[in-house]
């Protein structure tokens, strides 16, 4: 009966899912790098970048599913943590430009020179080091989520009120980042990146590597989430989701549990943002827009909340739909499609794609077992 937490986390569907991800993470970069572009199996570089973006969204969706699907915390501002992670990475990439910028200033990024800032602000110090930037990718969203959650969960702000406050949080950050004197490039954000760890961000091998790394991080994030939800802690989270005050009366410190998953989830979202920025080549304040956060929640709802795999699938499916839709004549109607998708899923498919499949799978198994049991009962009757 005794099993290590990791083995418990890896049930059959989890293992299958990880194998599929590994295959994608290995095959896509190889098919891009090794095959000539004339080959049928060749994956063009623009697709590698596009799919890499989906993978980052999938990590964000995973982080939302952990808190929403398992603990009932509906954050409508998770895009804020994603964007903060993205900005931390963007700052590193800006510092790598050096004298190759338009104004060729070795220290200050272009927008600072343009704004006549005499020197680099203190909070930009250290970002020329990758390790420091990587730390900030985790730390900035993590600390913000911790402080926010500390106040919100201790004051027992729950449900729709919490969702509204998270919206306000990301909106406030968006307004802040839009301002030039905030020191993050204002409206234009951070862009025109050159190198990451000495490799050209535009180069084909770098893009392929970024894709592979993103998939690896997705697998790691999935493993972390699976380990959590299959432990007793995961049971407590579901209990909090379904009957919060009951859990409290059992003696569990509900606010500590919420704070733990919320902070962890924000760190994951931050990492997703950090991987996203070098692949899309820009980060600007519109990433903080409340609409982005809501869209991410829709991915999870479509895929099936509380399933983890569904979150990943939902992010991929909805974004594939978005890409297809917004590149044709139907582009102006995408938001209507997204909105109706959410309404339809809520009404007709409340369990989401993966949740519904799992449900009918279980029902089918139950029926089959019941039928087998009946057959076994009927069979042994001896003939006259």
């Amino acid at each position: 009966m005794t099993s290590s937490p990791l083995i418990r986390a890896l049930d059959r569907s989890a293992v299958t899912f990880i194998l599929v991800l590994v295959a994608i993470g290995v095959l896509v970069p190889l098919l891009n790098l090794l095959l000539p572009s004339s080959s049928f199996w060749h994956v063009p570089t623009y697709l590698v970048a596009l799919w890499g973006k989906y993978v980052c969204y999938a990590i964000l969706a995973l982080s939302i599913d952990l808190i929403w699907g398992y603990c009932g915390i509906l954050s409508l501002g998770h895009g804020a943590f994603f964007a903060l992670g993205g900005y931390a990475m963007g700052m590193y990439l800006m510092r790598q430009i050096g004298t190759r910028g338009v104004y060729a200033d070795p220290i200050r990024p272009d927008f600072m020179v343009f704004l006549n800032w005499p020197e680099l602000p203190v909070y930009w110090y250290g970002f020329q080091h990758f390790a420091y930037a990587a730390l900030m990718v985790l730390l900035v969203p993590g600390v913000l989520a911790f402080v926010f959650g500390w106040f919100a969960f201790r004051s027992r702000v729950t449900g729709v009120y919490l969702s509204i406050i998270t919206q306000a949080l990301t909106y406030a950050l968006m307004l802040g980042f839009f301002r030039n004197n905030f020191g993050f490039g204002g409206n234009n954000g951070l862009t025109d990146f050159k190198d990451i760890l000495g490799f050209n961000v535009q180069a084909q091998p770098t893009r392929a590597a970024l894709f592979a790394i993103s998939v690896a991080v997705l697998i790691l994030g999935f493993l972390i989430c699976r380990t959590i939800v299959s432990s007793k802690l995961g049971m407590v989270l579901v209990s909090i989701r379904d009957a919060e005050s009951r859990t409290r009366f059992l003696g569990y410190r509900v606010e500590n549990y919420k704070l733990f998953v919320f902070t962890l989830s924000a760190c994951m979202a931050g990492v997703a943002g950090a991987l996203y920025v070098p692949q899309v080549g820009i980060i600007n304040p519109s990433e903080f827009a409340p609409g982005n956060s809501i869209e991410a929640v829709i991915w999870v709802a479509v895929g099936g909340r509380g399933t983890l795999i569904g979150a990943v699938l939902g992010a991929a499916v909805v974004n594939y739909g978005k890409t297809t839709f917004t590149s044709g004549v139907l582009a102006p109607y995408w938001l209507f499609v997204l909105g109706s998708l959410f309404v339809l899923v809520t009404l007709l498919l409340p369990r989401g794609i993966v949740g519904t499949v799992r449900h009918y799978w279980a029902v089918w198994h139950e029926r089959r077992d019941a039928a087998n049991a009946r057959a076994a009962e009927a069979a042994p009757k001896p003939a006259e």
């Binding site: 009966m1 005794t2 099993s3 290590s4 937490p5 959590i228 432990s231 007793k232 802690l233 049971m235 407590v236 579901v238 209990s239 379904d242 009957a243 005050s245 009951r246 859990t247 409290r248 009366f249 059992l250 003696g251 569990y252 410190r253 509900v254 500590n256 549990y257 733990f260």
Partner: protein, 250 residues
């Protein structure tokens, strides 16, 4: 606060609670001795559930003292701290974790380290499994241990919740309307179950069902408009004129 002020396990003195002017508890005083089982009766709105809320930290009293085990001022603690002290509560409406299996409901209630770190590192242990089986036998749910709690019948949910109380291993059990919605057979079995539990624990039962209260055969307190109307054996209380007038009816 000096060591012990009272020998009672539960001590309420002149407790008042009002909601928007409505006095839910009005100078309520009540003591429960260690090892005792006490039944609380009274009409709707008499303050029975509010009393439970005050004891478990859900509601803060406007005035009055509430002490547990003579030394713990319950008015200064929150739900989690009070649960840790050893007060378990069963709610009026059965609240079990519907998505979890019967077994896991008990597992979550079992006395253990409640920190997030401990639950993350948790591993199944034989001792834990044995204790769960023991409780399942007591609450007669062994056959459905693997089922999700949401699929249980109403009566089974009530028992599961009592089982969760047992798993917590509290010193004091507060049981709110354990037989509401139960068949006669189930009611009888529940009375048996509670009497069994009361051999080791202190139990306070709130109930409307007079036949059930009679079957418990313990000291009865009748509440009315937020204070104690009568106290004594079931026969004494049910012959009290005021109790007959406001609660039992003629």
């Amino acid at each position: 606060m000096d060591a012990r002020t009272t020998s009672a396990l539960l001590y309420l003195d002149a407790v008042s609670v009002s909601f928007d002017g409505f006095k839910a508890l009005n100078d309520l005083s009540l003591t429960v001795q260690p090892g005792e089982m006490r039944a609380i009766i009274g009409p709707n709105g008499a303050g029975k559930t509010t009393m439970m809320d005050v004891i478990t930290g859900k509601t803060r009293p406007d005035k009055g003292d509430v002490y547990f085990d003579g030394a713990h001022d319950l008015t200064a603690l929150d739900e989690t701290q009070i649960a840790e002290l050893g007060i378990g509560r069963k709610f009026q409406k059965p609240t079990v974790f519907e998505m979890h299996t019967v077994e896991n409901n008990l597992r979550l209630a079992l006395k253990a380290d409640r920190t997030a770190r401990a639950t993350l590192a948790w591993r199944e242990a034989d001792a834990e499994q044995a204790r769960i089986s023991e409780i399942l036998a007591v609450i007669r749910l062994g056959a459905v241990r693997k089922r999700v709690a949401g699929s249980l019948s109403h009566g089974q949910k009530q028992w599961l919740e009592i089982g969760m109380l047992l798993a917590q291993d509290p010193k004091l059990l507060l049981v709110d309307e354990p037989v509401a919605g139960m068949t006669d057979v189930e009611t009888h079995q529940t009375a048996e179950l509670l009497r069994e539990i009361a051999q080791e624990k202190t139990v306070v039962v709130v109930e409307h069902d007079m036949a059930f209260v009679r079957e418990l055969g313990v000291k009865v307190t009748c509440l009315h408009e937020g204070s104690v109307l009568a106290e004594g054996t079931i026969d004494q209380v049910s012959q009290n004129d005021r109790v007959v007038e406001v609660y039992l009816g003629r």
